[in-house]
Amino acid sequence: MNTRSFPHRHLLGIQGLTAPDILSLLDLADGYVEQNRSVDKRKNLLRGRTVINLFFENSTRTRTSFELAGKRLGADVINMQASASSVQKGETLIDTAMTLNAMHLDVLTVRHPDSGAVKLLSEKVNCAVINAGDGAHEHPTQALLDALTIRRRKGRLSGLCVAICGDVLHSRVARSNIHLLNTLGAHVRLVGPRTLLPSKIAALGVEVFHDMRAGLKDVDVVMMLRIQNERMRGNFIPSVREYFHFFGLDAEKLALAKPDAVIMHPGPMNRGVEIDSDVADDVERSLIREQVEMGVAVRMACLDQLTCGLPETAGGV
């Protein structure tokens, strides 16, 4: 029997969570890391529970991570790809919610291209909802897995200096990380060209840099963001070549960070665009592989806590 320490019905974002909320999930996830490394990775905590991963956007990695998390806790996990569902036949998001309610599920994991869509859905369904990324708004499990990765390497989050670099404008990962790191007392820097930084972003409690060398000076963690190709062709930035020259992470720029600084990336990486292969594959400093491992553990912790709050009989129609 799991005990409940996370006092929320849904996990829609990091904004609004307290430091104890976040730490309870991280502590629980630490335990799941060990379980996932043992031979018997199964636990029957969620036996009989139904989890649906509803993805309105393609994402093999995140969906697989959620699927694995649910299955390792013993839940029945169903993946619904929105392109293959009734959404394309004109069903509205609210209609979808009604349909899901009729299926008596326990947890709904949602990825949607529009900011706010997951919250809208959460208001209409009877189950617990986990935001697996909504537009450029939030991606809370990514921020939690990033925090767990950093904490396991550095022993703490408080007092660390973290540089988040690249396309912040379109990034839900950046927004969730800003909230989480600020809540846990880390110092956050944003690094990028002005065209890829949202207006008034400093109001979120971050320090803004347009010169990557200055932005990486003495940081503990370098968090790179993925840049989409369609943003590279003279629109937000002139070219891949110019972007890599000024904002790509290479050994020379990384040398300005602290000697024990670590490198993170939410994946999938564009090698030679935002990150140099030498740096991405540096076994001493790159935590990119660990991030994937922590992802499963963090999502198990989230499923664990959100199902504790559910009534013993699942929601009705």
Partner: protein, 431 residues
């Protein structure tokens, strides 16, 4: 003509004019190699120094001309780096900033480096290129501004084209601000200017020529000021020609925006009547405006709204200008008349000598953050020795420029260049 001096040269018995500091006194200036070593009423002149008697003439920083079309590469029949360099030094200009509207367009590092290397080899006026703000000057995709700046591009502009799309301009300003770079705009709303040949008004109506309304300038400037505010970018408006346009700039400056502007001599010397009998040499872009606009330009020069005067040198060959007015190319040459026409502001009582010179020296140097346009120890020894009162008549057939298209042919002007010095070397001397 050009004479190599490697050592020290003293220019004695001169009126020293330094617009950057306001210095205006009789004295001497000493150069050592490529830099100014000393200046003042009576600087010590070491033995072995070559002494040039200035005969009471004015000695000022060499002119910085911030808007020049050089036509090389691509249209060498109109002008070359060499012919423009000769015209420039004859006009007292020691630094030219050239537009990217060559063929190929200056939108790649290799072309920036080509122009700079060619100009260095020629050894006349120094040349710094602007690079294209958008690829191929097409107004759609941003150029590689960061790397172009590292290669030597001084600022970014689409040359004689306005950056038309508001979103592209927003991104250009924002992206340039990432590297603290300057965007230079041709401030004219293209949809209102399209097909126009001269200033819209009574004269255009009588002549049956399609007009370009003065509002085309204020409309684009107004939009751009809002985008400057939104992005925190640095912005320069080229050849501002209207009262309303200048008001937009004046208000933006009062609000503390990083905005500067220049104008060119035709806009304070001439008005739309110069088009006269369909004279294509007076077909300029922006067009010569009404007399009230001309007076507003003069007032803006006097009150400091206008930061610089550029020649807006736009060489056109005979084939481009000997055409029906509608089909003739826009533009006028201006390198060899820039100093004298700017000095008209002094002779007309609008500005004192140092303030007029600032418009063609320290003013543009400050906008472009160039180490030029000042007389100070350690500064480059780029100098012009001139007689501010000598009257002469503009004769286009005597221009060194390959193209002769000037609306000032036959005008009598005051102010003659006697000697031009670049990096301590005399590169022009009036015979």
């Amino acid at each position: 003509m050009s004479k190599i001096t490697t050592g020290r040269v003293a220019y004695t018995n001169v009126r020293l004019l330094d617009p950057a500091s306001g210095l205006d006194c009789t004295g001497a200036l000493l150069t050592d190699g490529e830099v100014i070593a000393a200046l003042g009423p009576d600087p010590a002149i070491p033995p072995g120094t070559e002494v040039i008697d200035g005969q009471g003439l004015c000695l000022a920083p060499g002119l910085v001309d911030m808007r020049v079309q050089l036509r090389e590469p691509g249209e060498e029949h109109k002008e070359t780096l060499k012919s423009a360099g000769e015209a420039a030094v004859a006009g007292g200009i020691t630094t030219m900033i050239c537009l990217p509207d060559t063929d190929p367009v200056i939108d790649e590092e290799a072309i920036v480096e080509f122009v700079a290397r060619r100009a260095r080899k020629i050894g006349l006026a120094k040349v710094y290129p602007y690079a294209a703000a958008t690829r191929d000057l097409a107004g759609r995709e941003l150029s590689e501004m960061g790397m172009l700046a590292e290669a030597g591009a001084l600022a970014f502009t689409d040359g004689t084209h306005a950056i038309r799309d508001a979103l592209v301009m927003r991104r250009a300003l924002g992206y340039a601000a990432t590297f603290d770079l300057l965007i230079v705009q041709h401030p004219e709303e293209p949809s209102l200017a399209e097909g126009g040949m001269m200033n819209e008004g009574e004269i255009a109506s009588r002549m049956g020529l399609a007009g370009i309304p003065a509002a085309a300038e204020a409309i684009l400037l107004d939009r751009d000021m809002r985008l400057v505010e939104l992005t925190g970018g640095r912005y320069h408006a080229a050849h501002v020609s209207t009262a309303d346009g200048l008001d937009v700039i004046r208000r933006a400056k009062a609000r503390g925006l990083a905005v500067t502007c220049d104008t060119a001599p035709p806009y304070f010397m001439l008005n739309e009547t110069a088009v006269g009998d369909y004279r294509s040499f007076a077909k300029l872009s922006p067009p010569l405006r009404s007399e009230s606009d001309r007076l507003a330009v003069v007032a803006a020069l006097a009150d400091g709204t206008i930061d610089a005067v550029a020649s807006d040198h736009a060489p056109q060959d005979q084939d481009s200008k000997r055409q029906p007015f509608a089909q003739a190319a826009f533009g006028a040459v201006g390198l060899e008349t820039l100093l004298a026409l700017t000095l008209d502001l002094v002779h007309g009582g609008v500005l004192d000598l140092n303030r007029a010179l600032a418009l063609v020296t320290a003013g543009p140097a400050r906008i472009l953050r160039l180490d030029a346009g000042r007389l100070a120890p350690g500064a480059p020894a780029d100098l012009v020795l001139f007689d501010p009162d000598h009257a002469w008549t503009v004769d286009r057939d005597r221009f060194r420029s390959k193209s002769k298209n000037t609306p000032f042919d036959g005008h009598t002007v005051k102010g003659a260049v006697r000697r031009t010095v670049i990096d301590g070397r005399t590169v022009f001397q009036d015979a």
